[in-house]
Symmetry: C2
C-alpha cells in the first residue's frame, strides 16, 4: 500500500515525489525501449531512486508499467478534452451544417497532429501508445477507453455526419480511422519521413513543419470527405 496519512494535504510528500519521478523516468524508458528492453535499474538510476523503490511503490515492474499507463491516460485525456468537448456538444445539439462539421473535424485532426509532437523534447507518450497498439498489454484497455475511444468516436460521428451515413456504420469507422491514421503516420513512420525530408533526428520536425503537416492533414481530410459526399449524392449506394 502507498503512503497514507491522516487525510489532509500532506500525504507524505517525500514518497509521492519519488513515485512521480519513477513514473516520469519509466515513461521515457518504456516509450523508447518497450517493456522488456527497459530495465528497472536504469529507470531507478534516472529517477534518483534505489533499485528496490519500484517494488516498494508499485509492487512490480508491471505495476509500474500500469501506473505509467494511468498517468498517461489521465494526462493526455486532459490535454485533448478542451478541444474534444465542444465537438461533442455540437454533435449532440440539433443544428449541424457541412461547414461547421468540417470546422470541428479539422480542429480535432489538427489537435491530434499537434499532440503527436506536443512535448518537443519528449516523444515518449506517443511511442508508448503506439507500442500498446502493436502488442497490447493489460494497459491497453485503459488507454483505449480514456484516450483513443473518445477521440475515435467523435471523429467517426463527424465523418458520418459529413457524408450522410450512420455513425454506427462500419464505413464511417474505417473512414475515420483512415483520417486519424494520417496523423499517426507522421509519428509511427517518423524514420522514413526524416530520411525523405532530410530533417535532423532531433526527435521532431520544427514548429513550422508541424504546422505544415497539420495543414496538409486537414486539407486532405476535408477534401476527401467532400469527394465522398459528392459521390454519394450522385451515385447510389
Amino acid at each position: 500500500m502507498a503512503a497514507r496519512r491522516a487525510s489532509s494535504e500532506s500525504p507524505d510528500a517525500r514518497g509521492e515525489a519519488a513515485r512521480q519521478a519513477l513514473i516520469i523516468a519509466a515513461l521515457e524508458s518504456f516509450g523508447r525501449y518497450g517493456f522488456d528492453a527497459a530495465s528497472v535499474r536504469d529507470i531507478c538510476d534516472r529517477a534518483g531512486a534505489n533499485v528496490a523503490a519500484v517494488n516498494y511503490h508499485f509492487g512490480s515492474k508491471e505495476g509500474l508499467y500500469l501506473a505509467v499507463a494511468e498517468f498517461l491516460a489521465n494526462g493526455m485525456a486532459m490535454g485533448t478534452a478542451h478541444v474534444l468537448e465542444p465537438s461533442r456538444v455540437y454533435l449532440a445539439t440539433g443544428k449541424r451544417t457541412a461547414e461547421a462539421t468540417e470546422q470541428h473535424l479539422g480542429g480535432l485532426l489538427r489537435a491530434l497532429v499537434l499532440s503527436m509532437f506536443a512535448n518537443v523534447r519528449d516523444s515518449s507518450p506517443a511511442l508508448f501508445v503506439l507500442r500498446e497498439q502493436s502488442e497490447p498489454t493489460s494497459a491497453f484497455a485503459l488507454i483505449f477507453e480514456r484516450l483513443l475511444k473518445p477521440m475515435h468516436e467523435t471523429i467517426t460521428a463527424l465523418v458520418a455526419d459529413r457524408i450522410g451515413i450512420a455513425a454506427t456504420d462500419l464505413e464511417a469507422v474505417i473512414r475515420a480511422h483512415a483520417l486519424i491514421s494520417q496523423c499517426v503516420g507522421f509519428k509511427a513512420a517518423k524514420a522514413a519521413l526524416q530520411k525523405r525530408t532530410g530533417w535532423s533526428s532531433a526527435d521532431d520536425p520544427g514548429q513550422d513543419n508541424v504546422e505544415l503537416i497539420a495543414d496538409v492533414v486537414v486539407e486532405h481530410s476535408i477534401g476527401a470527405l467532400r469527394a465522398v459526399a459528392a459521390g454519394k449524392r450522385r451515385g447510389g449506394k
Copy 2:
C-alpha cells in the same frame, strides 16, 4: 562471415536449410517481440536448431537480425516490384494526364494496403518494419533503401505530378507521406481499429474488409489531391 559455397545449386543444402529455418523463425520472433525481447534460445528451438547455430551461421544475434532484414527487404521488394515498375516508366515517359496519374497512384496505394495484410497468418514482416521506424537500428538503412524509398519516392512523384508541383518540394513529400500513412495506420493502430469495429483478434480483418479499406484509402487519396489541385488552380501560392 556467413556460410558461402562455390556457386552452383547445392551449396550444402543442409546448412542452407538451417539458415533459412533460422531466418524464418527469427522474423516471427523479432517482429512480434522486438530485438531484445526475442530470445536466441526460443528462435533456435522453433527452427529445430541448436543454440550454437545462430552464432555459427550469423556470428551473433545482431548478425541474425541483419540477415532477417535483408531477407525481408529482398522478399517484400520483389512483392511490390511488379506494381511499382509500371508507374516508374509512366513517370519517365512524356505523356501524363490527371486521370492516368490518379490510376497509378490508386494502384500503388491499393498494393500497399494489401501488402499490410498479405500473409494472413503472419503479420511479422509489417511489424518488423514498423519497429524499425520507431527505433531504427543498423538494419533500417537497408530496409529504407530497398523497400520504403522506392515506394515513397514514386508516390511522391505521382502526387507532385497530380497537383502540379515539383517532386522535390517538401510539400509533395509530406502530402505523399500523409497518403501512405493511411495504409500504415491500419496496421500500426490495429488494436484500436479492432476495438472500434469489433473484429476478432485473429490478427487481420477478413478479405472483404481489406478490400473495403483499400477502396476507402484510394477514394480518400484521390479526392484529397483533386481538392488540392483545384485549390492551387484557384488560389495563388
